[in-house]
């Protein structure tokens, strides 16, 4: 089936089978391997992308459902060489170790701050319920979210 959508600001048209998951379309068809597959029960959040501005799990969407939609993946959050404030904050705060959950975390935090620019620690931790990390113990991810919030407010 034919779909037309925007990915990271670029318009594109593609032929996809109905059973193609969005995550597989992004990774295999589009070569955007930054979005990761970490589980099979839609719970780990490693596959998160922004669809029409909302963070969603790309393993739980069919590519065919994205006709007419705007998708932003982790690759689309930086502007060329310039990192977004959230990406910069993750690096600054050591909010990642192996990096596998990181694309989902960054997308999730990006969405949080768009909706709640000055979240409390508790609000950050609750927002991240759907993002599992096995390496960091979450503390520096929370710190990254707080730093990013400050960066964005200062800007």
């Amino acid at each position: 089936m034919k779909i037309s959508l925007k990915i990271n600001g670029q318009d594109l048209t593609a032929e996809v089978a109905p059973t193609t998951l969005l995550v597989d379309f992004l990774r295999s068809d589009q070569g955007l391997t930054g979005t990761h597959l970490g589980c099979d029960t839609s719970q780990c959040g490693a596959c998160m992308v922004l669809v029409n501005g909302d963070a969603v799990k790309s393993c739980t969407l069919l590519a065919v459902q994205l006709d007419g939609a705007e998708v932003t993946t982790i690759e689309g959050l930086s502007d060329g060489e310039t990192l977004s404030p959230v990406q910069e904050a993750f690096r600054e705060a050591h909010g990642l170790q192996c990096g596998f959950c990181t694309p989902g975390m960054v997308v999730s935090v990006t969405d949080l701050l768009a909706k709640n620019p000055n979240p409390s620690e508790s609000e950050i931790r609750h927002w991240l319920e759907g993002n599992i990390c096995r390496c960091t113990g979450y503390q520096n991810i929370v710190k990254a979210a707080q730093m990013a919030a400050e960066k964005q407010q200062a800007a």
Partner: protein, 265 residues
């Protein structure tokens, strides 16, 4: 996944004309997509409801709040009308899953599935909401018919659900892996008295705790939920046995009724 065809109608009528045996509706997908990925279902056709405008939206009509079947949990949680008029419903929706789930998951999808641990059935049953479909209107008491079973025909589509505007509260003890309810109690007071609906605990799905309702109707300050019988057979699984689950139901009831009392005062 097994192979299937896909269609995305833009009107309810189109969807109605298509739905039937092996031709399944796709709402938020938060339950159905994992089911398909694990090869636990083999539909021939998936009918995507996400592009039908009439199924979305929240409005007030005749003192009741109408919520479209495809309205996302995040929308219900943040909607001003719901937050002020049915506060327990908004806070309940805001606790379903995680933000990504709430951006896609829907009221209609949750009700049609009737997962015994889902939150919405408790709200709908307690509030005596009415489920409006492509064919008829079904009262909450007739809608839930057992584990993963509802009154819906195979070709019937929920269009919207209407709720009364009343003080209400919800409290859920979460299963620590899935985030579903180990015990979730929705409490409100309608014209016919206190209503407590329990999810996550009963083997046949959501139920009203009649003994607790009777005790409260008898004495609105009642608080000794431990003394009451809890009749339906409790779900037993690796997370909670029957005793612990009943305990959680009792504790949740006590705490949520206390919250309701504050609202009623």
């Amino acid at each position: 996944m097994y192979e299937f065809d896909y269609v995305r109608p833009t009107t309810l009528q189109e969807a109605q004309d298509l739905v039937g045996e092996d031709k399944k509706l796709l709402a938020g997908g938060q339950t159905y997509m994992p089911t398909l990925r694990q090869r636990l279902a083999m539909p021939e056709l998936l009918i995507d409801l996400n592009a039908i405008p009439v199924l979305h939206g929240i409005c007030e009509a005749d003192d009741r709040i109408s919520i479209g079947a495809m309205t996302r949990h995040a929308e219900v949680a943040s909607d001003g009308l719901v937050r002020s008029k049915i506060p327990g419903l908004a806070s309940m929706a805001g606790g379903i899953g995680d933000p990504a789930v709430r951006h896609r998951g829907t009221l209609g999808g949750s009700l049609a599935n009737n997962d015994p641990s889902a939150c919405y059935p408790a709200a709908v049953l307690a509030l005596n909401a009415v489920v409006h479909t492509s064919k008829r209107s079904i009262e909450a008491k007739d809608f839930f018919q057992g584990l993963f079973t509802t009154a819906l025909d195979e070709d019937e589509i929920i269009s919207h659900v209407t709720f009364p505007s009343v003080p209400c509260a919800y409290l859920k003890f979460k299963q620590p892996a899935s985030g579903f309810a180990l015990a979730g109690v929705f409490a409100c007071k309608l014209d016919d008295g206190f209503r407590l609906a329990v999810t996550g605990a009963g083997q046949e799905g959501v139920f009203r705790w009649q003994q607790a309702e009777a005790a409260l109707n008898n004495d609105a300050s009642f608080g000794d939920f431990k003394s009451l019988a809890l009749e339906p057979d409790m779900i037993e699984d690796v997370h909670a046995d029957a005793d612990y689950r009943s305990n959680l139901v009792r504790v949740a009831a006590g705490r949520v009724v206390a919250q309701l009392r504050e609202q009623l005062a």
